[in-house]
Symmetry: C2
Subunit: 253 residues, 2 copies
């Protein structure tokens, strides 16, 4: 909806968020090592030029993420195994030019393997789920709305393939990655994207993947999934190689 689209204004970052991220960076970079004591709250307040309350809220964040532990009267210490409990796509590191490519490469690896397994392990029910998402994208292609439901159905298609892999961990991981980059499919399914043939190209790739899975051909499913991810990346301007086929292949970039 148009109203939703204008809702995403750029809010200034909260001080407690900024301090928390800065400290997290120090921990993840190794500048602060496991077991090491952080500066006192008063010192951090002086260093960051913020109040003690802001520091405490930043530390509360870090505690929730398992990065630090506090002991009253003693201090705040880097946890022995900082942050091991959770994996995040953006671990507080600054964005770099390679981010999108790193993400697409990880998706290529995991989604191609999931497609391969879906070809072998799918059930009538899981195949129906994939087919329904495919049909929903066909319908979105004809939609007169500005953005329609194509991106949502695109998400659902990928997650249905992941679910058909028969490995719930892989399914959850692909869902996680998909949600973190839910905005990346929007350009393909926008009015402009559909008029420009992006959605049609994407849908052709989806159909080839569906057919390979339905045919129970894992090699064809893997190849179809790889083609699709590489093309999807290309549509966003990201160059990706589908296979490590030679020592010089990657170094051309």
């Amino acid at each position: 909806m148009a109203a939703t689209r204008f809702h995403q204004i750029n809010r200034p970052q909260r001080l407690s968020d900024a301090v928390g991220l800065a400290l997290e960076k120090r921990i993840r970079s190794g500048a602060l090592t496991p077991g090491e004591r952080l500066p006192t709250e008063a010192q951090l307040g002086a260093q960051f030029a913020v109040s003690r309350a802001v520091v405490r809220e930043a530390v509360a964040r870090l505690k929730a993420e398992g990065l630090v532990e506090s002991r009253q009267g003693s201090g705040v210490f880097v946890a022995t195994r900082p942050g091991a409990a959770a994996f995040r796509m953006n671990a507080g590191l600054p964005a770099s030019a390679h981010d999108a490519r790193d993400v697409f490469e990880l998706r290529l690896i995991v989604e191609a393997a999931a497609a391969e397994r879906a070809a072998v392990r799918h059930t009538p029910q899981s195949l129906t789920q994939i087919g329904e998402a495919l049909a929903a994208m066909d319908a979105a292609m004809e939609s007169v709305a500005d953005s329609g439901d194509g991106a949502g159905a695109d998400d659902a298609f990928h997650c249905a393939v992941a679910a058909a892999s028969g490995n719930p961990l892989i399914h959850r991981f692909i869902e996680f990655v998909s949600q973190e980059f839910s905005g990346s499919r929007q350009p393909t399914w926008s009015r402009d994207g559909r008029d420009g043939g992006l959605a049609q190209a994407s849908q052709n790739e989806h159909r080839a993947l569906f057919e390979a899975i339905a045919a129970g051909d894992p090699a064809a499913a893997r190849a179809a999934a790889e083609r699709h991810i590489v093309s999807a990346a290309g549509r966003l301007g990201v160059m990706l190689s589908p296979r490590m086929s030679g020592p010089n292949n990657e170094e051309e970039t």
Copy 2:
């Protein structure tokens, strides 16, 4: 040290922890639904009989976990996709008989792809790192200590291979998975495991992987990594197939 042993006294739970956990319980149980607005800070303070600072720190915890979002002047809301910002191996689901197999399968997919990329993208420095971890395992093989440092060096070896993949995201993910299952390598490197030849078998596989990477041969590196993961799983009693090579291959299990 004996002094350390008596250090683990039962500390009363912090108020901010208790409030944070109580709110998290309401969210995860569905009593508070995605998009729903939480009571105001003042109301929560009255309900829990704590100061506003305690409430704010509890909310800071929930924000770090992706469970809520706050909007200044408006309120604190349950996130649209609560907890989606982090991926956890155990997502609060009960353990099932397929867990270990699911994990090894995910490792197989990601680590084999990392090895492939390491063969192409390694640098002299990253290759040295891998070699040092290999040497540390050789040394641990001869160690007279009961458990030695073999498991730690085994972890380090896998993480060095992941680092050599040239994709920091893959590196972080493999590190995350490795840390979550850091105990799984202990039996191989224990006294019994070394005497029984488990460590030697594992080390032979590590060496083959190292050599394939050093030779810059991605296909050999992938195959070596797959062999190793499949064998490692087998040493723990988990049956794993390295490839989806036919429609009936998996259904034998």
